[in-house]
């Protein structure tokens, strides 16, 4: 994809258009992620951004460092049946649409506090009260809700992160052959 095609491709996602900095990031991502087969650069940006908000780089590796987006792309391309794949992608679009409605920018280009605010909203397990009217209005028209989209994405991100070799082997490192079973030992 050349730069002009790329800008045209992403132009439709925001009435305001992406910021130049974001566009540059997206372009770099598009170049780097030529191996992605289902996620387009916009979708990849949302997946990667949310994955890193869920499981950020700390003193241990974060989601994008272990290629969570590439694994999700693999599942979407080869494993998920068409209906499930379309539902997943519709969920991503709903998250971007909600972000657009609330903040005037797709998720990956919203400001960090806005992103975190939206994630708190979408993380329905943590939400104890009904959404505000503006949030309810923003939800109208989503065929797959942003909440559903986030729940699906979160499941895959957590799965992809903890089953990746650097995390499973490097961080968790549970013995493959424990050799014994103790029912109740100190942590």
């Amino acid at each position: 994809m050349d730069r002009r095609e790329f800008l045209e491709a992403i132009a439709g996602i925001s009435a305001l258009g992406p910021t130049l900095v974001f566009a540059q990031e997206l372009h770099a991502r598009a170049q780097a992620a030529v191996s992605l087969r289902t996620l387009n650069p916009v979708q990849d940006a949302a997946v990667t951004c949310i994955a890193d908000l869920l499981l950020p780089e700390t003193d241990s590796v974060g989601a994008s460092s272990v290629g969570v987006n590439r694994f999700i792309d693999l599942l979407l391309t080869e494993s998920l049946p068409q209906a499930q794949r379309e539902r997943f992608l519709a969920g991503l679009a709903a998250i971007d649409a909600r972000s657009q409605a609330l903040y005037g920018a797709p998720f990956a280009t919203a400001r960090r506090p806005q992103q975190e605010s939206l994630l708190r909203l979408l993380d329905v397990h943590a939400r104890s009260q009904n959404p505000a009217p503006a949030e309810s209005a923003a939800r109208a028209g989503e065929s797959v809700s942003a909440e559903d989209g986030f729940a699906s994405l979160k499941r895959l991100v957590v799965f992809a992160y903890f089953t990746s070799e650097p995390v499973a082997k490097g961080l968790i490192n549970a013995p493959i052959i424990p050799g014994r079973y103790d029912g109740c030992v100190p942590v």
Binding site: E78, L119, F162, T163, R180, Y181
Partner: protein
């Protein structure tokens, strides 16, 4: 093996199927001196190549998530059971090659493993003896037909097979669930010990929580190593620490020098000679060449699984047996049962967070049947046992839990999370003539053998048991002080418990049963069926150990009859 050398060979015995029952038949018959041909429909298994229990998720293409599109295309039925995962789906049949039919409003899930070892590779390994509470139930309640045997007839054979396969368990002294020849029990974990104590305070010896009794070695036994607690037994076991035909009975049979094992041999029919009124052998299809093969023997053991053995007999029509061989009773294919399960409750237990379990125990807890043991419950006949256990869910809780960010991540990496505890019931199913299998008029499998039409649904008694399981599981969790209790009844279709049985039942009367008290056909004396087809009732216990014991007992009888010239 070419047609010429196999079809001309005369064997003393033919065993059809190399799973749990067939492996036992092969071992017993060869050890008693019979030259035995063991026919298996599926391919050979090479443990070093095929067992994948130590392969880590990150080494698989989809890390255990599986290729859902491929499963949907090739194993839409098999993949509904949890063990048919990215590692072990190869141990389950291809549904396109192995079709069957059911009415859309009466789903039946037929889960099959076609390879040397059959489903003994992927079975649940739970082992529970029956008692006379089970063997007498039909007679007491006027349901189905009376079992032609009682506990005393099978008890020595339970001991015989337990000593060979190795069963770990805790002696409890309960009349409804007799103790066996146990290797040391596995430990309960902290949560399970807590619930055990709470149940003992509330229900004394009426509702007992014990560690699961399982065919997994807790110490070296019969030349096999003790379990190393890697966890996923259904992906194989390179040390043969759980019982499978491949690791136990088949090597024993091979060691006699009298076993001929022929994989890729799909048995279609039992051959029968009207003149002598005996079965003469079997007709099979080579799975690869589709060539028809015939093998002859003096005695035949069908151990192909309840539905496959019924299918073979239904497909063996003769002038005398126009509805299927050995079917003068008209009960062949009928009285199909499976255990209703998938109803129970789960919750979390506060505290004990300073403790964890170490190692992956491939076993859970068991609560032996307590309904209709001493009292008579007005709501339903029979009862159920609970299986389940406690665990800390570590990172897996993050997929559906709340939160995000550094604290979320660190908690998933470093904290194991609260103790969860859950139990679900495995209930008895009553035999009903109208739950049956028959040959489909047109549908055939890949080898040209008529496929089954399966007609099976739960009756009111099964539905009442499922309801009680859900409520009573929650009652037990409440007694243990659990929080966030959720009950569930998944309303699973019959078949999914993979305990299908009853399609050639044992009984005293040839007019109402297919087999006598020795698993011998009433009609054709040198024909035996010793898999789940023989069951006159289902009990609520996991059935494999009973098939093993009945098989060993039937082999002993058959060889005695052969030697006396009575077959």
């Amino acid at each position: 093996m070419s047609r010429s050398d196999s079809s001309s060979a005369e064997f003393d015995a033919i065993v059809v199927g190399s799973g749990i029952s067939g492996g036992w038949a092969a071992k017993e018959l060869t050890e008693k001196g019979l030259r035995t041909l063991l026919l298996e429909a599926g391919p050979p298994i090479v443990p070093a190549r095929d067992y994948v229990e130590h392969v880590q998720a990150y080494s698989l293409p989809y890390r255990g998530y599986g290729n859902l599109r491929k499963l949907e295309a090739q194993q839409p039925i098999q993949s509904q059971t949890g063990a048919c995962d990215e590692w072990a789906s190869k141990f389950f049949v291809n549904d396109r090659d192995n079709p069957y039919h059911n009415d859309p409003d009466k789903p039946f899930l037929w889960i099959r493993g076609r390879q040397v070892g059959g489903r003994s590779i992927i079975w649940g390994r739970q082992v529970y003896r029956w008692s006379d509470l089970d063997f007498e139930a039909n007679a007491r309640e006027g349901i189905g037909v009376d079992w032609p045997i009682r506990y005393a007839d099978i008890a020595p054979w339970y001991s015989y097979v337990e000593k060979f396969i190795g069963v770990s368990g805790q002696v409890e002294g309960l009349a409804q669930l007799p103790d066996g020849e146990f290797l040391p029990p596995m430990q309960l974990n902290c949560a399970e010990t807590h619930v055990q104590g709470a149940m003992a305070r509330r229900w004394r010896r009426e509702r007992v929580l014990t560690i699961g009794r399982c065919a997994i070695l807790t110490r070296a036994h019969q030349g096999r190593a003790a379990c190393h607690y890697c966890g996923p037994c259904w992906r194989g076991c390179i040390t043969h620490s759980y019982f499978s035909s491949n690791g136990s009975t088949l090597p024993a049979a091979a060691a006699t020098g009298r076993l001929t094992l022929r994989p890729n041999s799909v048995v279609a029919q039992v051959m029968y000679d009207e003149r002598t009124d005996r079965a003469t052998g079997v007709r099979a299809v080579d799975a690869h060449t589709l060539q028809t093969l015939e093998f002859r023997s003096r005695v035949i053991f069908l151990c192909a699984s309840a539905l496959e053995s019924a299918r073979i007999l239904l497909n063996s029509k003769t002038a005398r047996f126009s509805s299927g061989l050995a079917n003068s009773s008209g009960e062949l294919g009928h009285n199909l049962m499976d255990h209703p399960f998938g109803a129970g409750a789960r919750g979390t237990l506060a505290g004990m967070e300073e403790h964890k379990s170490f190692g992956n125990r491939p076993n859970g807890i068991y609560v032996p049947r307590f309904r209709n043991v001493r009292d008579r419950d007005p709501r339903f006949l029979r009862g159920y046992g609970f299986q389940g256990g406690g665990e800390r869910r570590d990172w897996r809780r993050g997929a559906t839990g709340s939160g995000f960010g550094a604290a979320f991540k660190n908690a998933l990496l470093k904290d194991l999370g609260p103790w969860h505890f859950g139990i679900g019931g495995w209930a008895e199913c009553l035999p009903r003539h109208d739950n049956y299998v028959a040959l489909h008029p047109t549908l055939k499998d890949k080898w040209g053998i008529p496929a089954l039409h399966i007609q099976c649904s739960w009756g009111p008694n099964e539905l009442a048991l499922l309801k009680d399981m859900e409520v009573t599981a929650a009652e037990i969790l409440e007694a243990a002080g659990a929080r966030d209790i959720e009950t569930y009844n998944e309303q699973l279709a019959p078949g999914l418990c993979i305990h299908e049985m009853g399609t050639a039942r044992m009984g005293r009367d040839p007019k109402s049963s297919v087999l006598n008290g020795w698993n011998q056909s009433h009609d054709v004396p040198n024909l035996f069926v010793t898999d789940g087809a023989c069951m006159a009732s289902s009990g609520n216990q996991n059935p494999s150990i009973t098939y093993m014991a009945l098989t060993a007992r039937a082999c002993d009888y058959a060889v005695g009859q052969l030697k006396r010239g009575d077959l």
